[in-house]
């Protein structure tokens, strides 16, 4: 591949380039599509690429619009991809599962219709862990994605395909979904920016639910500003989602270069103490960078973080068992004739298509929410969430603008290395789940690459609806960090 190719442009560079006539949307798209063709043989970021002729026709439409001075939207023909748990009308949406192999969405997710309204061209549906349960993309029913930094390694998950696609220039930006770190974790593993908005900032209409009380759609992009640009397009109140905040559309790029002068940053002990030494060193250096930029950094302890992972897995398992109950293959799904089956045996047979991880989590969810056990597990997990939320809210109210930690306490691991040990995989989530449980916004910013050539990301978290403050801090870190090596190809 030609490394000086235009497709390495950031989203902001793309918009400038295409509107100023430096290149056309068609040129950019067709280079992107040929890059996809070549990169997919190694990475498997995508489950399906849309019909290229139709995509190119749309790009030409944008080009005509630009030439004739018509409105072409903020994104002006930008090639983006979306995780395969986000619905697009007339397009297959499998959630990385064989259970939904034949499912074609009858409507557009709000995030999709907003991308379209701003002229984005959605080129592909990205690979993911089945129903977003996992953090390595190894649980995709259609095979794992591979980390472009080292294809022997996992790209993280569950939005692994989206992170790989953004890192490997198979799109300019991608949408993932983040239930317990599913945007930030693969962003960290692939050295791209992954943004998890405040709960309710982005509509979940059209996002196939896994754990609906905590998950959000979030952008994955190569720069903080690119993530902010895409966030501005998809964020805002949506009448199809009663949980969206009553906030008007906003420009998240506004003030993003404002810096961290005077900001107070807390580095969370519980999220840093046990981290891999290379990862811990990166956090210390990042704190130094922020101080040099005028912020004050200090250590903070949040006791309830120690309970966040069991609370997170209890709640997500219980909600998953409920959310995935609808997949009984009666109204839509794959081909399995009903003849000779009694209702319950048919449903059980049909649901045999779920992979082992999803099966296990539904069993777990059934267990922790059953009449006899709900008080001990589900209710207690909700209370832990409430107490953790109070603790985090207090920290923001009294002392800090930003809480910082490694995005993942460990370095990316090899494919196959951990997929058989669920509890040790749980711990990979330790630093990310707090933002979901407390509904706070959080971002992973690429910070360094380990001696072994594996990316390390820094997570920053802010208070509810302080997404602009968070983006400003993330941008400051991005600007201050030492230069990063190029992704190998």
């Amino acid at each position: 591949m030609n490394h000086s190719s235009i497709i390495r442009a950031s989203a902001l560079e793309y918009v400038r380039g295409v509107t100023s006539g430096e290149f056309t949307a068609e040129e950019f798209l067709s280079e992107t599509l040929s890059r996809v063709g070549e990169a997919e043989t190694r990475y498997h970021a995508y489950l399906r690429v849309e019909d290229s002729q139709r995509l190119l026709a749309r790009a030409r439409e944008v080009d005509r619009g630009i030439k004739s001075g018509q409105k072409v939207g903020l994104l002006a023909g930008m090639p983006v991809s979306i995780k395969d748990n986000i619905c697009m009308r007339g397009s297959r949406t499998t959630c990385g599962s064989r259970m939904l192999e034949g499912f074609v969405a009858p409507y557009d997710a709000t995030a999709v219709s907003r991308l379209h309204a701003e002229g984005a061209i959605i080129v592909a549906k990205a690979n993911m862990d089945e129903f977003a349960m996992g953090l390595s993309t190894e649980f995709s029913a259609y095979g794992p994605s591979r980390n472009p930094w080292n294809t022997e390694y996992v790209p993280g998950g569950s939005s692994g395909g989206s992170a790989v696609a953004a890192a490997a220039f198979e799109c300019v930006a991608s949408l993932g979904s983040d239930t317990g770190g599913s945007v930030r974790n693969p962003a960290s593993f692939c050295s791209v920016v992954g943004y998890k908005p405040t709960y309710g900032l982005v509509s979940r209409h059209g996002l196939v639910s896994y754990a609906n009380s905590i998950e959000q759609i979030g952008p994955i992009a190569r720069t903080v500003s690119d993530a902010a640009l895409v966030l501005g397009v998809i964020a805002g109140r949506d009448e199809h989602d009663d949980t969206t905040a009553d906030a008007a559309a906003d420009d998240y790029l506004e003030g993003i270069e404002g810096g961290v002068e005077g900001m107070r940053v807390g580095i969370v002990d519980e999220m840093t103490e046990g981290a891999d030494p290379e990862v811990a060193r990166a956090v210390a250096r990042a704190a130094g960078d922020l101080e040099a930029a005028g912020a004050s950094c200090e250590r903070i302890s949040l006791d309830m973080v120690g309970y966040s992972v069991p609370s997170y897995y209890t709640i997500t398992a219980a909600e998953a068992a409920s959310n995935l109950a609808r997949y009984d293959n009666l109204r839509y799904g794959y081909d399995l004739p009903t003849d000779g089956y009694e209702f319950n045996s048919y449903v059980a047979e049909a649901r045999g298509r779920f992979g082992p991880e999803v099966t296990r989590r539904m069993i777990l969810g059934g267990y922790v929410s059953s009449a006899g056990h709900a008080g001990r597990y589900y209710l207690k997990a909700l209370k832990v969430r409430a107490k953790l939320t109070r603790e985090v809210a207090d920290a923001f109210a009294s002392s800090y603008d930003i809480l910082m930690a490694p995005t993942v306490p460990i370095l990316p691991f090899r494919i196959g290395e951990k997929s058989d040990d669920p509890v040790s995989l749980f711990m990979v989530d330790l630093n990310t789940v707090t933002a979901n449980l407390t509904r706070r916004p959080a971002v992973s910013v690429p910070y360094a690459v380990s001696a072994g050539g594996l990316p390390i990301g820094i997570q920053m978290m802010a208070d509810s609806m302080q997404d602009k403050t968070l983006l400003r801090a993330a941008r400051a870190l991005e600007r201050k960090r030492p230069p990063l090596p190029e992704v190998p190809d």
């Binding site: 009858p106 103490e273 109204r331 839509y332 059980a348 099966t359 267990y367 209370k383 749980f426």
Partner: protein, 102 residues
Amino acid sequence: MPPRLITTLAIPQSGLVTEEEIESVSKLVRIKVVDHREHVEKVRDMINFFEMLDSAGVEDDELVMDDVHVSQLREDVHEPFGGLSGYVRQYRDGYVRVPNMS
């Protein structure tokens, strides 16, 4: 080197969950599991891990829930969706056929 976190979070080992329990819960969530033993160990590990919640000291904590005013909800207007039939499996006359209940 594995992160120290795994050892700092002590996992109780009460091992309460039995194969029968796994079997009955998998029936409850309607999943045909060919070999329950395959899942027993992992599910048991997870549930044992969840027992950490017992030591969180949250018995007296109240749940915190977001709320909205009734006026923020959807007003009562009929809007037909139209065009769903092509996306739904049909037997005939628009009905969905389902297996008989026993």
